[in-house]
């Protein structure tokens, strides 16, 4: 695959590759996403299917599902988020090491879905920042794979070095984030 960020001619440069730090960091990150399955409802069944041999998420370099937030960098929120569970999700998200990403899988995690009720958080983006939303009720595994590939594209476009230095300059609470849905009109 042609990577336009890398200019390399073995006859001229020998064993040296010249590139940008962002390109290298992003290339590493996007091909080793470690997802954390935040399985909350029926979407988690499709998530399991995506991880199994038929759909095989490992084709895209993200098969290392970790059930500990400390070992994962991408939370896949798959299912209905109740208000009682919202606190738990936020805490688990906070325990994940930077950099971290979130995929809202399915109608419920994205918007509350069909659960327009007193018990259901109307979109997980009210408590954590979401990178990719997947439609569907539940989405098919292909839709999740597509979302993960979109997430890889997004990771590939990040200004990683700049983000890193900005984070180091202001370590605590770097993101009391502009939450997409925090102030959302109900």
């Amino acid at each position: 695959m042609q990577n336009t960020n890398v200019a390399y001619d073995s006859k001229v440069e020998g064993e040296i590759i010249v590139t940008q730090a962002d390109a290298v960091i992003n290339w590493i990150r996007k091909h080793s996403v470690w997802p954390m399955p935040m399985g909350l409802a029926c979407c988690a069944i499709e998530l399991m299917a995506a991880g199994a041999s038929r759909f095989d998420i490992s084709r895209f370099g993200m098969e290392v599902m970790r059930f500990s937030p400390r070992q994962a960098d991408c939370m896949i929120v798959s299912g209905t988020v109740t208000y009682k569970m919202a606190e738990v999700i936020r805490r688990i998200y906070e325990q994940m090491a930077e950099p971290k990403w979130v995929v809202a899988m399915g109608a419920c995690a994205s918007t509350g879905g069909m659960y327009r009720s007193y018990a259901t958080l109307q979109g997980v983006d009210r408590i954590i920042p979401v990178d990719v939303y997947v439609s569907g009720c539940p989405p098919r595994p292909e839709a999740l794979l597509d979302a993960m590939i979109k997430l890889q594209d997004k990771i590939g476009r990040e200004r990683s070095v700049k983000n890193l230095t900005a984070r180091n300059a202001k370590p605590a609470k770097a993101e009391n984030l502009a939450l997409a849905g925090a102030g959302k009109e109900s």
Partner: protein
């Protein structure tokens, strides 16, 4: 219930009255005799399994709340439904059946949580589905399906995110997913999309 069965029960428990039922046998029992009645059912009549504890909110009527109990006899393979009215409409209460059936424990907690019926003598009457500080009982008739604004259960999360428990946007809902058609067109949607929170519901 066969006529004779109820007659037999009535003979022994004269405080019972027969309750109309489309399926299983059903009786009305005064709340203060409930424990005694259920103990006898369990020990003498073979109703050894408490299947369900729930309640009905009759809204404007009085008595407003009726506790419902479903018992099963695993030897006779018969169900029995027992209904007990709560005397107080404002602070409804019923005697707890935990001493008779251990299964009543969580069922009564659930009914307390969602209907607000207090079970006297329950060993651990806490909410079981909603969080402990939640101020309402959501299955009561006067509680809107969309919910009522209250703070999030966790203070620190509420502070960090600015989120609260908001009434859900109904927008013509409840939202249903149709089983027909390609999956791309079966997203959950409102049956009646002629109104939203911004646009008044049309009156006929």
């Amino acid at each position: 219930m066969a006529e004779s069965d109820f007659a037999q029960l009535k003979e022994r428990f004269d405080y019972l009255s027969e309750r109309q039922s489309a399926d299983h046998s059903a009786v009305n029992c005064p709340a203060d005799r409930l424990v005694e009645f259920c103990s006898a059912l369990r020990d003498d009549l073979g109703y050894d399994l408490l299947v369900d504890v729930t309640a009905v909110d009759w809204d404007a009527q009085s008595p407003r709340f009726t506790g419902i109990y479903h018992l099963l006899s695993t030897t006779k393979h018969e169900y029995l439904r027992i209904a007990a009215d709560c005397a107080d409409d404002i602070n409804p209460s019923l005697p707890s059946l935990c001493e008779v059936f251990a299964a009543a424990n969580w069922h009564e907690r659930e009914t307390y949580d969602l209907m607000g019926i207090h079970y006297d003598g329950h060993p651990d009457l806490r909410r079981i589905l909603m969080w402990d500080e939640y101020p309402y009982h959501p299955l009561r008739k006067d509680f809107p399906l969309a919910g009522i604004e209250v703070p999030l259960p966790a203070d620190d999360v509420a502070e960090a995110t600015g989120a609260t428990v908001l009434p859900a946007p109904m927008m013509g809902g409840p939202f249903v997913s149709s089983a027909d058609g390609p999956m791309s067109q079966t997203e959950p949607s409102a049956r009646d999309e002629s109104w939203t929170e911004q646009k008044e519901k049309p009156t006929d």
